[in-house]
């Protein structure tokens, strides 16, 4: 299979990033674009929460307001995420649901193996932990979330290479029960950034490793492209949803 790769690393705000991901899924499911991998950053740093999360249970609204950190709800399930402009690369991929990607759990494993390959290539002993995590030394370095529409899937996820964990810990709320079940006291004890594992990060090399990793995971031959006008136009139609308090505070 051929996989179009869009390196969109200049950075856009959280509302646009979520709108672009949804636009890619919509256009892919209408057969208007090919299967696409996009690598991007959030600028400014921001928070996203999972589709089913109650906002008051997922983020520290007072802290986000104090710091002026933007936040929105994703169309994908899963937990809350702090996206650090200078410490995290996000990936999104839109693919047809077919073959081994049909089973949801298996599709998480296959797509997340792209991250595992990339991290191992960089010297970090990464492992996939179902449902949706990639861990190094038992600590989470990447989380992913997937939605499916009309026979196509969108999966997006993080790779923390130098995320400011103090801000992450203050911005997000982890249920006490979740931490206790993992035998830890704080979110910080549960996560790790790549810099802690392999030292200073060359972002270019990291991006290259991710592209190679996903190419291997999906047995795909990659080619590079840019976002098209139609993708940006559809995203522009969706962006207001992500800014709308009735979407953000819907739970």
């Amino acid at each position: 299979m051929k996989l179009r790769v869009v390196l969109d690393l200049e950075g856009r705000d959280v509302y646009w990033q979520m709108a672009i991901d949804e636009a890619l899924l919509a256009l892919r499911s209408r057969g208007e674009i090919p299967s696409t991998l996009r690598l991007y950053r959030f600028k400014p740093s921001a928070v996203t929460i999972g589709y089913f999360q109650k906002i008051s249970e997922a983020v520290n609204l007072e802290f986000l307001s104090e710091r002026g950190i933007q936040f929105t709800r994703r169309i994908t399930g899963g937990g809350s995420v702090y996206h650090d402009t200078n410490g995290e690369i996000t990936y999104s991929v839109v693919l047809p649901v077919e073959g081994s990607l049909t089973d949801v759990l298996e599709s998480y494993r296959i797509i997340c193996s792209g991250l595992v390959y990339a991290l191992r290539k960089l010297g970090a002993p990464a492992e996939f932990v179902p449902v949706n995590d990639v861990v190094v030394y038992g600590r989470k370095i990447s989380g992913s979330a997937q939605t499916r529409r009309a026979g196509y899937l969108l999966q997006h996820g993080t790779l923390m290479y130098a995320t400011d964990l103090d801000t992450l810990e203050r911005a997000l709320v982890a249920p006490r029960e979740k931490l206790e079940s993992k035998g830890i006291r704080s979110i910080r004890e549960r996560v790790i950034v790549l810099r802690e594992v392999i030292g200073d990060i060359n972002v270019e090399k990291l991006v290259e490793s991710l592209v190679d990793g996903f190419s291997r995971a999906l047995s795909a031959e990659v080619y590079y492209d840019e976002l098209s006008e139609s993708e940006l136009r559809v995203a522009g139609e969706l962006v207001e949803k992500y800014r709308n308090p009735s979407w953000i505070f819907k739970r």
Binding site: F52, V131, Q146
Partner: protein, 96 residues
């Protein structure tokens, strides 16, 4: 009106917020958390079906319509049992 909130820990975490009327009928319910469901709106439809329920049979029926839905990170059977227990214990408390 009574409000009951439960936090249930599976692979993922689920929070159940239930508002019950004086006669133990579910007036409102929110099932929230960091889990995954495919399709996503199946959970909103489940919440709608549960509203108005005051019996185990009604809850059983609401959950039985989750056919073809994939829920990851949650023991749906256990979630259903916990919800039935909420309704039953409301009824028992009302009788006291």
């Amino acid at each position: 009106m009574r409000q009951v909130s439960l936090i249930l820990r599976y692979t993922k975490t689920v929070r159940l917020d239930v508002i019950l009327s004086e006669n133990c009928e579910v007036r409102d319910i929110t099932i929230s958390g960091d889990f995954f469901a495919y399709p996503e709106d199946s959970i909103e439809r489940l919440e709608s079906r549960i509203k108005g329920c005051s019996s185990e049979e009604c809850i059983e029926k609401a959950f039985s319509e989750l056919i073809g839905v994939t829920v990851l990170g949650v023991d749906v059977e256990d979630l259903k049992r916990k919800l039935i227990r909420v309704i039953k214990s409301c009824g028992e408390n009302s009788e006291k």
